[in-house]
Symmetry: C2
Amino acid sequence: MPPTLKEVAKAAGVAPSTASGILTGRSDSWASESTRKRVLDAANKLGYRANRFARGLRTGTFQTVGLLVPDLLNPIYTVYARAIERVLEPAGYSLIVEESKADLEGEKQAVRKLLSSQVDGLLCFFMDYQAHYETIMNNKPKSLSMVFFGESYPDSGIDSIMIDLARGTIEAVDELIGLGHNRIGLLHGYHPGPGRGTDARLEFFRYEMAKRDIPLSEENIIVSGPTVEEAYEQFKQYLEQTDPDKRATAVFAINDIIALGVMRAAKDFGLSLPQDLSIIGVDNTPLSHYLPISLTTVSYPIKDISKTATDFLLARMKGDDEPQREVMFSSRLIRRESTAKAPE
Amino acid sequence: MPPTLKEVAKAAGVAPSTASGILTGRSDSWASESTRKRVLDAANKLGYRANRFARGLRTGTFQTVGLLVPDLLNPIYTVYARAIERVLEPAGYSLIVEESKADLEGEKQAVRKLLSSQVDGLLCFFMDYQAHYETIMNNKPKSLSMVFFGESYPDSGIDSIMIDLARGTIEAVDELIGLGHNRIGLLHGYHPGPGRGTDARLEFFRYEMAKRDIPLSEENIIVSGPTVEEAYEQFKQYLEQTDPDKRATAVFAINDIIALGVMRAAKDFGLSLPQDLSIIGVDNTPLSHYLPISLTTVSYPIKDISKTATDFLLARMKGDDEPQREVMFSSRLIRRESTAKAPE
DNA sequence: TTGAAAGCGCTAACAT
DNA sequence: ATGTTAGCGCTTTCAA
């Protein structure tokens, strides 16, 4: 049995309430230096750690925030989780990571679960924001703070952190055009159900292509789920079904993991990389640098993003009620081995 | 404010304790069908969810288990975490994943933290089991159950799940020999401090090599940390410093992630893969299948392993006090693209 | 500057 | 078959 506050107090010769004030560093605790020291020593000696449950029960706060991500096998979410944790920890909060298994149904369940679960705050990467709008607006307890990544609900009071893929996408498109590609494909994978809303990454890509008068054939827009497996299957199918003369010579994939699926499918189809097919990803996953064919990718400042998001959440949980915030981070292209001159 | 048990009870017209018995499905609750139904309905209507903290405080149990892993960027731990979670969830437990950042100091801290943290059980992948022996034996509360992966403390009462790499390693060695390799290197990466104990994977490899009269030059045994970065650096250095005539033509890396580092270092050094260098990993990480050069690797039944470990833990937490258990799972080689005939 | 007492929401003995 | 009561460990008025 771990020591209780009462025991610490007794060992120090003070009342539990006094010890509590000192141990939690409450500002109104004007304990004398000597008492403070006695209490701290006693706590230390006994190896005291406050029982989170008792404290949570008493304070009505959980000192816990949840992070919802689609798929933990995409290492980018591990990177986020780490960065977030690093901000949360010093603030005394713990992080619970939940994944929706890259499935819209799973995501709905997870939202429900998290909304009524005992956390003080929630950081969300949704695959489909629209799908949860009602649930969240109707069921979010007033006491639960949230921050979104990548999209926002107008007038919801929920802060959002956005990544402006403009620069990165423009650089990617220009890079490919500069290499002589004029049949460029796109693989996007955030939408488990087809036709469900539009992906900003896709729209932006379309726009930039149009601006440059590069035809973007609809059949070169490939829809996949967010996992490497789905990307592999979809792209393999694309390769099998598309006339080689019309086939894209370069693919912009909206994240590194699905880019990996594309790579593998291309290899299995007998293409040489990057000679026969250039591939660009997004996220600059740690992995992308170490692949046998390292991946050209769009990168963004993930630590800053995580820090900002977590700071917003922390502030909201403290009661901050500024107007809804929305900040945007920029992106840029990192050139590696997966892009090359267009084939003849 | 979420509804409390008291409110549910009132809505159903019963006492809190009655409602409690019904809602938690306590066996000694001989409530009549009609009361049971009223309570369930009320709970449902109000969206009641028991306050974990109050319950934990009252029962002295946390319904939580911790999982300690070295490095979440190695996807194999994500795979474990998922598989474990899948067993834990139906049993009503949640999982907290802690990573030691692939650093022995971090691991020591994490052990200390978890031992005194409020979890009912602990599943551990340690990098260095010896380093924690004292801490654990001296500080593990009687009420905390533990299960180890990959090593065991004799007479500790802590169950262990082992992977017998025999078959996999033998197959790996034979595969390489069959391909004509006779200078085979080993990269092992579980020991942050050099000279700290020995790695079973290494010992076994040594043994199998000796048995086949294949000389294993000490300089072809490369020590690295468990991350891809460290493996990359170490192997790069190895390549730069080793006489090409003595250099290994094949490398057995003790996990897929460090195998990836080896691949990349070889590429950057100008070697062609797999012609100039064959590489074998261990773990059969999901990723290894999708790499542009897919990785030959030693695989083992990770779901069964996770299930067994979690079942053991669940049983121990329920009070089971069978003698210490130790089970061993087997492994086998999966041939992919990263291995080829030895160069001339 | 410190202590006494109440109560957070829940469960388990015990009483009815 | 159901209700009453006490208390888990902590924090927080309020009183001393």
